[in-house]
């Protein structure tokens, strides 16, 4: 029996039972028996059909699972970020370690970052020893104990005990460790500069690497957008509702009608439809660009403020350095005497000697406190110096963002109570789809939204900017639809798989 025969049988049974209208006992008995036989027969056919479906429906599941090499993308992004910065502290992620040491509330996190810094010194060929930490007595004690116990199983516990024992001697120990590393980075800066100069020395430059990165991201996105499995999995995981993408979806008509007459859309030939989709994608990228610019406009406002009053900051950095140099010189001279006494003092030392030691100890610490106070705005001083040196009237929003994100400490402190996150901002800055951000000078305070409105008035699609988040959502929907359409992804087939799958659960 073929499928058409089964269908015929179904029709004929339907027609036959329509005639079972007798209420006579004998007839009812006879008809019920016929019905029971049909039910039995149909159940057998149904079970056979089900068995055949079960054997074959899983073959319909797409198997073009995309395996993007994320490592290649991240490597290239690291390379690009590395080349974009001209500070070895930023290039090597040292700014992040310094920030964690200075502001973290966890001793474990602080110790982990100290370890990361020690590794970075090793990378450039410097094995720091206890003698490198003679910035202050307390730093020396802490770091000597650190180096002696590094790698031991009970390291975290031991360091917490050490921190506890030094706390009343030096409340600002963490800050002193931070300052000591700043001092060491300056002392060994030549080695670091040489290291970063040689790394990626074969590179053809930032623009070339950035272009390669963009190409790779766009290629990967295209691979994902073409993948049947990608859509299937999104429906399966509930990220997308399959009903919204079926050929008869009502949402489809509602959303497309916001941009173009739906009947016109239906009648579009392939070329016109691709053109329409292309316009939608461009509007989407511009909208995302604009939304992020708007979200992080407070950063641009800050850079603009500093830049426009740059004359008042011109000598800031040099005065800071001069001041630190003077304070360090005084501290070092006292510190030298202090360490001399420190090595001399024991249980038998006279009260006078101990008194002299304590006096010197407090003098050194008070000098370091002065240095520490000067470092309160250190990150801001660095960023201001960078703004003054690297930006000009033609620099774009993008250039201005790059200046602030190049100092991890500054950007994280500044963004603390504001909208957004460092990661989101970085993802935005390294998106290959930026246009507004790279075109508009950061000193301009033009009304970008009205410019977009004017632009879209000239388009042959409607773009309503009144509810931007809804607009973004609608554009994302059409973009998905465009790939489904462009790459002939069969959503009805997915629906069949899901429906059939329910039968066997």
């Amino acid at each position: 029996m073929k499928l058409k025969d089964i269908n015929k049988k179904i029709d004929s049974i339907r027609n036959e039972i329509k005639l079972f209208d007798s209420n006579e006992r004998k007839e009812i008995k006879k008809n019920n028996k016929i019905i029971d036989n049909y039910i039995l027969e149909l159940s057998k056919i149904r079970d056979n059909v089900l068995c055949e479906i079960e054997c074959r429906y899983k073959d319909l599941i797409p198997n073009d699972m995309v395996d993007i090499d994320e490592i290649e993308v991240l490597d290239l992004l690291d390379r690009v970020k590395y080349l974009s910065s001209n500070s070895f502290i930023n290039k090597m992620g040292i700014d992040k370690n310094l920030y964690e040491i200075r502001y973290s509330l966890s001793i474990d996190v602080i110790n982990d970052n100290i370890s990361l810094l020690l590794d970075k010194f090793l990378q450039v060929g410097i094995k720091l020893s206890k003698d490198d930490f003679k910035y202050s007595i307390s730093v020396y004690k802490y770091m000597s104990y650190y180096l002696d116990n590094l790698g031991k199983l009970e390291f975290d516990k031991l360091m917490k005990e050490m921190f506890d024992s030094l706390y009343w001697e030096c409340f600002n120990l963490v800050n002193y460790i931070y300052l000591c590393f700043i001092y060491l980075l300056d002392k060994y800066s030549d080695k670091f500069l040489l290291y970063v100069k040689n790394k990626y020395s074969s590179s053809l430059g930032y623009d070339y690497e950035l272009d390669n990165y963009y190409k790779l991201v766009i290629r990967n996105n295209m691979v994902i957008n073409k993948s049947e499995y990608n859509y299937y999995n999104k429906f399966l995981q509930g990220e997308l509702r399959i009903e919204d993408y079926l050929s008869n979806s009502s949402i489809k008509k509602d959303i497309i009608s916001k941009f173009v007459d739906y009947d016109k859309y239906i009648e579009m030939n392939r070329e016109d439809r691709l053109y329409f989709y292309n316009q939608i994608r461009n509007v989407y990228y511009e909208l995302c660009d604009y939304l992020m610019l708007d979200r992080y406009s407070y950063l641009i406002k800050k850079v603009r403020e500093i830049y426009l009053s740059k004359n008042s900051y011109l000598n800031n950095y040099n005065s800071f350095l001069k001041n630190i140099k003077g304070l360090l010189k005084k501290k070092d001279s006292l510190n030298k005497k202090l360490f001399y006494l420190y090595n001399k003092i024991d249980d038998k030392s006279s009260k006078r000697l101990i008194g002299k030691y304590n006096k010197l100890f407090n003098q050194v610490n008070s000098k370091i406190d002065e240095i520490s106070k000067s470092y309160d705005n250190y990150d801001e001083i660095l960023v201001i110096d960078k703004i003054i040196r690297e930006l000009n009237d033609e620099s774009s929003y993008y250039d201005a963002f790059l200046v602030v994100v190049s100092n991890y400490g500054y950007i994280n402190s500044y963004m603390k109570d504001k909208d957004g996150s460092f990661k989101e901002l970085m993802d935005y800055l390294y998106s290959p789809y930026l246009s507004i951000c790279k075109s508009i000078p950061f000193i301009s305070d033009m009304d970008i939204e009205s410019k977009l409105d004017t632009k879209y008035d000239l388009f042959d699609i409607e773009v309503n900017l009144s509810d931007k988040m809804k607009l973004k959502e609608d554009l994302e929907y059409i973009i998905r639809l465009s790939y489904i359409d462009e790459y002939n992804i069969d959503i009805d087939k997915f629906k069949l798989i899901f429906d059939v799958d329910k039968l066997f659960k």
């Binding site: 179904i10 209420n23 009812i28 019905i35 057998k44 059909v49 055949e52």
Partner: protein, 41 residues
Amino acid sequence: MEELEIKNESVKDLYEVYLEIESLIKELESSKKEMPQKEVL
């Protein structure tokens, strides 16, 4: 029952037939009538 020749049919067509059969079985079950009580003289 006559042997089924459905190996070459698409899963979509098979599923449609399955739905039709299920629907017909339900119709059949509901079309069965209760036997009237015998008249007592």
